[in-house]
Structure formats: C-alpha cells, structure tokens
C-alpha cells in the first residue's frame, strides 16, 4: 500500500505557518526586590521587561517557525501553483498522472528535507518553472503594487467618505420659500410623507 501524501487543503482564510510561542514571565520576587518602587521606576522596569519579553518571544517564534517540516511543505505547497495549466494550487492539483504536480511535490519535499529556507526553496521553483509558479505576487519590485493598491484604495475611500460626511454635516438646510402656513395640498403631503420616513425606526 502506498501512502502518497497528507496535506491540509486550500482554505478561504489566509494560511500561514503555524507558530507557537511560550510566554516566559519574570519572577515576582525580582520586582519586589527592585530598589525603586516609584511610579517612574516601575514604568521603566515594566518597559524593560516588556522589551525583553518581545525579543524573547520573537526569538522563540523564529526558532519554532523553522521546525515542523510537514507544516512547511504544506505552507510552501499552498504558496505555489501547479504549472500544468489547471490553475490549481500545487497541493490541490488532483490530476492523476499530472506530469508536473507529482514531480513538483517531490522537489518541494526534497528542498525542505535539505534544509533550504523558504526563500531559497521558492526561488528555486521560480528559476525552474517561471514566475507564474508563485500563487501570489511576491512583495518585491513592481509586484508590491499588487499588495499595496487594495489598502491604498481602502485608505483613500475612508478619506473620501470622511470628507463627504464632513461636507454633508456642514451643509445648511435648504428651506422652502414662504412660511409654514403657506404649505398646503401636495406640498404638505410631501412634508408629511418625509416626516413619516424620518421618524421611522
């Protein structure tokens, strides 16, 4: 019996490498024995301790990130496309006997087993199969534009909406000519209808 592979399939949510961190907290005694317990002193201690924790956590994340090989294969395999023309993610290409995906998966496992880092592995695939092997644009050169543009549009949209809201709020109300007593007939009906609309929940 041949076990071919076991992977997690494509998800609608962004898949990133699984990372686990261990938070190492300082012993309470150290704080209690510290020479200064003034507010400023305590703030300094907390800031220093916080910075140490961040550095430590980053180190732990970094070290652990390089660990689990099957997770790395899974992650990298979902960042590349099968190049047979099926337009599917490499690990999701389901063509039996596909001339490319089986070989590419083998090459990916070999690269991870060799200890190549992510960039090196992906670079190797790009050199061999071309830029279209990457499932998403890289974050270098002109390709950065692909990533930046949606956020830029969102930011511009937010600014635009803010400007519109401000303009609308500062706009004076346009009152109809004549006094209230002059309103009658269809005009009165219009205002009644508008008042009904405005006071609805």
């Amino acid at each position: 019996m041949r076990i071919l592979r076991r992977v997690r399939v494509h998800s609608l949510f962004v898949s990133s490498r699984a990372k686990r961190g261990i938070w190492i907290l300082g012993a309470r005694g150290e704080d209690r024995d510290s020479p200064s317990l003034t507010l400023a002193g305590m703030t300094n201690v907390f800031l220093k301790r916080g910075a140490q924790l961040v550095v430590m956590a980053l180190a732990v994340f970094g070290l652990l990130g390089a660990g689990d090989q099957s997770a790395r294969v899974n992650d990298l395999g979902h960042r590349m496309m099968c190049v047979c023309g099926c337009n599917q993610i490499l690990l999701e290409c389901n063509h039996v006997g596909c001339a490319y995906s089986e070989r590419m998966r083998g090459e990916l496992v070999a690269a991870v087993d060799r200890g190549d880092n992510d960039d090196l592995t992906l670079q190797g695939f790009v050199q061999k199969y071309g830029t279209t092997v990457m499932a998403a644009p890289t974050k270098t050169g002109f390709n950065r534009v692909a990533w930046v543009m949606p956020y830029l549009v969102l930011a511009l949209g937010l600014i635009m909406v803010s400007v519109i809201v401000r303009a609308w709020r500062s706009r004076p109300l346009v009152l109809p000519d004549g006094s209230v007593a002059a309103v009658h007939g269809t005009e009165l009906e219009y205002f009644r209808r508008q008042a009904r609309k405005d006071t609805e929940v």
């Binding site: 599917q88 389901n94 002109f142």
Partner: protein, 672 residues
C-alpha cells in the same frame, strides 16, 4: 435548419434596430404621430423576443436531431448525450451562450414592454436603451459568433460531445441562473439611464429599479453559489471557490449590486446619494459586460472554456460606448442629482450605509485588481505573474470581517441619528453573547494565536454570532410589541411583523443567510485530506471516520466508460454509509471527469474522490477530504433566497389597534 436560425437572428436584429431608432425618434419628436411611432417601436421590441426565441428553439431542436451540419452542434453535442444535456447545449459554448444571453435580454425586454402602462414615458426610454443593448448582442451573433455556422466538407457522423465537466445536473440550471443575474442588470441600468436622460421627477423610478435589482440580484446569488456547488461536486479538488477569473467576473457585479441595494435606501428615504446610486448601477451593468469580456476575450487565462475567442474587441467597443453615454448624460443632467438632505450624525443608518458601500466597493476593486494584475504585470515588467487564492484571501478576508461587523451594527442604527444610549441598549447583550461564544471556543481548544487563519475563523464565528443575535433580538423585540397589541404568540407576531415590512425583515433574513454562509467558510480552516492507494479490504482513517474499500470495478455505457469503487464508511465501529466515488471517460470528447461521492452532514463533509488507477498495480487511488461545515454554505444560500423572496412580497396593511395601549411602545415594523 441553420437557415431558419440565421434568418431568425437577422430578423431579430432588424426588429431591435427598428425598436431603437423608432423609439428615439418618437421620444425626440413631439409632433403628431410620435405616439404611434413609439407604439410601433414597443411592438417591434416585443416581436424581437418571439424571433430570438425561435432562433433558440431551432438550436435546441438541432441538438436533439443531431444535426451536425451546424458547427456549434458538432462541437457541443453527440448522439449519445442524454436529453437534459442536449437541452443545455444551448449555453454550453460561446455562440450558444451569447444566443441564450440575447434570449434572456429579449425576455426581460418583453416583460418591461408589456408593463409599459406603469409609466409610459419612463418605460419608453428604458425600452430604447434595452433595444440598444439587444442590437449589440444581435450584431455579435450575426457577424462575429453565429451559432448557426455550418460545417465545411464531409458531414461528420457524430459530434465531439459536450465537455464532461458540464455533464452534471446542476449545469442545466447554473448558467441560466447566472445569466438571468447578469442580463437582468440591464433593466435597472436602463431605468437609471432613462431617469437621468429625462430628468425624471421623484423617486418612483428608484422603486421600480429596486424591485428589478432585487430579482436580478437573487438570480445572480443563486447562479454564483450553484457554480460554487458545481465546482465542489464535479472538479474534485475539495474546494468550492478558486478565484478563477470567471468566478471573479460573477462576483464583481454581485458586490456592486449588493452595494446598490443598500445605498438606494438612502435615496428613497433621505434623497441622498443620487449620483452615487446612478453610478453604482451603471458600474454594475458595465461590470457584467466587463466580466463577459474578461472571460471571452482570452485576455486572462481561465480554466473555463470560453477563454479562447476573438470577440473581445466588440466588448471593448461596447463598454466604451456605454461609458461615454453614461458620462455624457451625467455631465449634462447632473444638477438633477443634487442631494436633498444633510447628514445629521455620524452614528446613523446613513453613515453605516456609506461605510458598507465603501467596503463592498473595496472588495470589488480587489477582485478586479487581482484579476487584471497579471495583464498589468506583463505590460509593465514583461513577465506574467499569477494572482491566486493566497492574494485574494489575504486582502478580502479582513474586508469581509469589517462588513460582518457593519451587518451587525447597521440595523441597530436609526435614520438621521442614533443616541449612544440606544446603541448600548440594543448592542450590549448581542455583544456579550458573541464574546462569550469566542471564550467558549477558545476554551474548547480553538487557538487563534497559533495561526492567523484560526484568528480569522474565530472572528468570523464571533461576528456571525453578533449578527445573528442582533437579527434575532430585532425580531423578538418587534414580535413582542405586536404580541402585546394583538394577543398572538411570539412566532405569529414575528411572522406578522415581517409581513408588515417585508423589505426590512426580508433583508434581515438575507443577513442571517450571509452569516450562515460565513460560518461555513470559517470551517475551511479545519479541512483535512488524505490520499491512499486502496485495494480490497484496505482501510483509511481520517478524523473520526474509517473507510474500507469493499470493491472496485468498471462499467460502460454509450456515453462514457467509468471506474468506481465501493467504500464502506465506519464511525465509532459502526457502518454509517457506503460511498461510490467514480471517474468517467467520455467517449465523444475523449476526456475524463470526476464524480465525487460526498456524505454531507451539518458537522462536516466526507468528500471521497476516485483519482484514478495506479497503472502498476491496477488499484484505485482514493483521495478523501474532511471538510467541516460546508453544508452551512448551501443552507445559507437557501436562507438568502427565502429572505429575498420575503423582501419582494408587498407589505401588509399595518396592524390597527382598537384598544388603548397602556404601555409605551416603540414603533416596530417600520423603516428599513
């Protein structure tokens, strides 16, 4: 047969051209006889439906009669093709699908032209605009993509058959639904442009347009999700959405159409966003045409078969004409679109609609941008790049989460202004419920800090709970008030409440459907799969299931040969199902196709794919996916459809209370 079809298309073109030109003359010329001229234009438009229908019937009859002298029938049918798929031949290829498009457009035009008495002049303008669009598609059918082109040389004995991927029951209904959506946006577009051209007084056109848009949007929703379900059931890769350009093309008008359905309420209620709404509906129609251009021009690569063709230039020209026309009349008549009211508070329904529109349009832009970026990249740097699921997911998931948050908050905001106290009062318990659910999920083992996808999944479930609780609280609060007045039980009161303002409560039901779908999406984070070669009696374990290969065999019929396996499924040591994953080889087209065996439950789908045989051992290779919560997506779509239908039902007369009300009652069942 082909002559009848070709003649029908030519006659349809002449009728539509007449309807367009005579319609314009009748509208421009105020002299005597213009009314009668307008009437002839309307009748020519009606007649165009009959003639296009005849053309479509001829093509279907040709498919049933195996008339392979028609090139289209040769390429998309064969003698042994089952009858339902022969019927589906009409929309299985480029030319046929364009004819189907023209048929639906003429059918929409027929309904519009028959209902002209609603507002004779507005409908006359809209009829002329629809005739113009009909002329474009009929020009295309007559001169660029004729479905009645004949085969050259010796008459072939049999056709090359229908693409195997299309030989699935849903393919008989998915394209019609999708096309009803795409084509349907022509009608709101026609009304909007007509209202702008004639400086239509009042908001009646908006009410007419809204109803058409809702129907169209409902069809498009069905079409998009039927496509997703088809991809899930047929393609065999375990997913339902791959961000293919064709899928993206259907999503873009859906997003702008959704934005329009929300923002149009501001125009109806407050006379605001008139320009915005006008351009939203213009954009939605243009995106429908643009999507067609994308998928039929070959400008982007797609797994869909329409990608190779040369009709792209026609669509570019048509898009340019539409845009120029819209811009011209907007510039000419923009003074007609002045806002009537000012925004009074940032915490109001109006501002929530503004942000909702912003997010929907950003999502639409992202999809468009990602779809076109490979072309742009090739143009700028000379190398094509792939923009696939990782890009779309990373950018769109946060936007979708923000939209979910607005879906929860928006309905709690009143028009004009909302006091913070009222917001707190309405929002507190749903928020506590959502947070409690989040804590419970973390306690049960969901670790959002492990992976950003888990974080998104948790946030989706929490925000969905928030939306569900706000929707339920709205129903319950309104139902209670009606119950107090009428003495009915809570359920009956809630039904009456929904009937009093179908649009508002239908909308809530649609929102509820959306969150059920989102929960289904959130489940995809926990997908698993396993692939294994399986002989007789071999076992495979995935999740809590054990699959045992009972047997594998081959079968044959005139249309296809097949290989399939019999898999017994066990859970907790007890057999719960037998699944038959299958792989077919279609003889006419010489292509293979997968028939997935899927055991679907609300908790998860056990999705079994027969991938093929190992040539060395002759044993089947079976791939099994365990996909949690997928059924929620399809259930959510049904809920959305129910909500849309409810929203289309006219409101009942508000309940009249004869007895004096002793308690202070908030107005219920009113407003949107």
């Amino acid at each position: 047969m082909s002559q009848i079809g070709s003649f029908a298309l030519l006659l349809a073109l002449a009728l539509c051209a007449y309807s367009f030109l005579a319609g314009i003359l009748a509208l421009v010329n105020k002299g005597p006889g213009s009314e009668r001229l307008g009437e002839t234009a309307r009748r020519a438009g009606i007649a165009s439906f009959v003639v296009v229908f005849l053309g479509a019937v001829v093509l279907v009859v040709a498919a049933f009669q195996n008339d392979f002298s028609i090139a289209y029938i040769f390429h998309h049918s064969n003698r042994d093709l089952p009858a339902p798929y022969k019927f589906a031949t009409l929309w299985s290829g480029q030319e046929g699908s364009l004819l189907f498009w023209a048929l639906l457009l003429s059918a929409y035009g027929l309904v519009l032209r028959l209902r002209y008495k609603t507002d004779v002049r507005l409908f006359a303008y809209a009829s002329v605009i629809i005739a113009a669009v009909q002329v474009f598609f009929l020009l295309l059918l007559n001169f660029a993509a004729n479905p009645f082109g004949v085969m050259q040389g010796t008459l072939p004995a049999d056709g090359t058959g229908l693409n195997p991927l299309l030989q699935y029951p849903e393919m008989v209904i998915h394209p019609p639904m999708l096309y009803l959506g795409y084509v349907g946006f022509t009608v709101p577009f026609a009304f909007a442009l007509a209202a702008l051209i004639m400086r239509y007084p009042g908001e009646k056109w908006i009410q007419i347009t809204r109803r058409w848009t809702m129907v169209t949007w409902g069809f498009l929703t069905c079409g998009v999700f039927l496509g997703a379900h088809w991809a899930y059931s047929v393609l065999g890769w375990g997913g339902y959405w791959g961000w293919d350009p064709v899928e993206n093309a259907s999503l873009m008008p859906w997003l702008t159409g959704t934005a329009f359905l929300h923002s149009v309420m501001m125009q109806e209620k407050r006379g605001m966003l008139k320009t915005w709404n006008m351009w939203l509906i213009f954009s939605t129609f243009m995106l429908s045409i643009f999507g067609t251009f994308l998928t039929r021009s070959g400008v982007v690569s797609s797994v869909h078969a329409f990608a190779q063709s040369s009709i792209g230039d026609w669509f570019v020209a048509f898009l340019a004409i539409i845009f120029a026309t819209c811009l011209f009349f907007y510039v000419k008549n923009r003074s007609h679109l002045r806002t009537e009211h000012k925004l009074e508070s940032l915490v109001s329904r109006e501002s929530s609609f503004l942000f909702n529109n912003l997010l929907l349009l950003v999502a639409c832009f992202t999809v468009l941008w990602g779809t076109l970026f490979p072309v742009l990249s090739e143009w700028v740097q000379g190398t094509k790049v792939t923009v696939g699921p990782p890009f779309f997911n990373r950018v769109n998931v946060p936007v979708a989460l923000l939209l979910l948050l607005l879906t929860a908050v928006g309905p709690l905001l009143a028009w004009r202004r909302t006091s913070i106290d009222s917001l707190k009062r309405n929002f507190l318990w749903p928020a506590i419920g959502a947070i409690a659910l989040g804590i419970l999920l973390v306690a049960l083992g969901m670790k959002p800090w492990n992976d950003v996808s888990y974080f998104y999944s948790l946030m989706t479930i929490m925000l969905s709970a928030l939306v569900a609780l706000t929707v339920i609280s709205e129903f319950v609060r309104g139902g209670r008030v009606i119950g107090r007045h009428t003495g009915q039980n809570l359920f009956a009161s809630m039904v009456q409440l929904a009937h009093r303002n179908t649009r508002r409560y239908g909308g809530y039901i649609v929102h509820f459907g959306v969150i059920v779908i989102m929960i289904g999406f959130a489940g995809s984070v926990f997908n698993q799969d396993k692939e294994q070669e399986m002989g007789f009696g071999d076992k495979m374990t995935i999740g809590s299931y054990t699959l045992v290969c009972q047997s594998y065999t081959q079968d044959d019929n005139p249309n296809y040969g097949s290989e399939w396996a019999v898999m017994n499924v066990f859970k907790g040591g007890k057999q719960i199902a037998t699944l038959n994953p299958e792989r077919r080889f279609y003889k006419a087209s010489q292509q293979t196709s997968t028939m997935v065996a899927n055991r679907s439950t609300p908790q998860e789908d056990l999705y079994v794919v027969y991938e093929g045989q190992n040539p060395d051992t002759g044993r089947p290779i079976i791939k099994v996916h365990l996909n949690p919560l997928v059924m929620w997506i399809w259930v959510g779509v049904w809920i959305m459809i129910v909500g849309t239908v409810v929203a289309l039902i006219p409101n009942s007369v508000p309940v009249r209370v004869s007895a004096p009300v002793r308690m202070r009652a908030e107005p219920v069942g009113a407003g949107d």
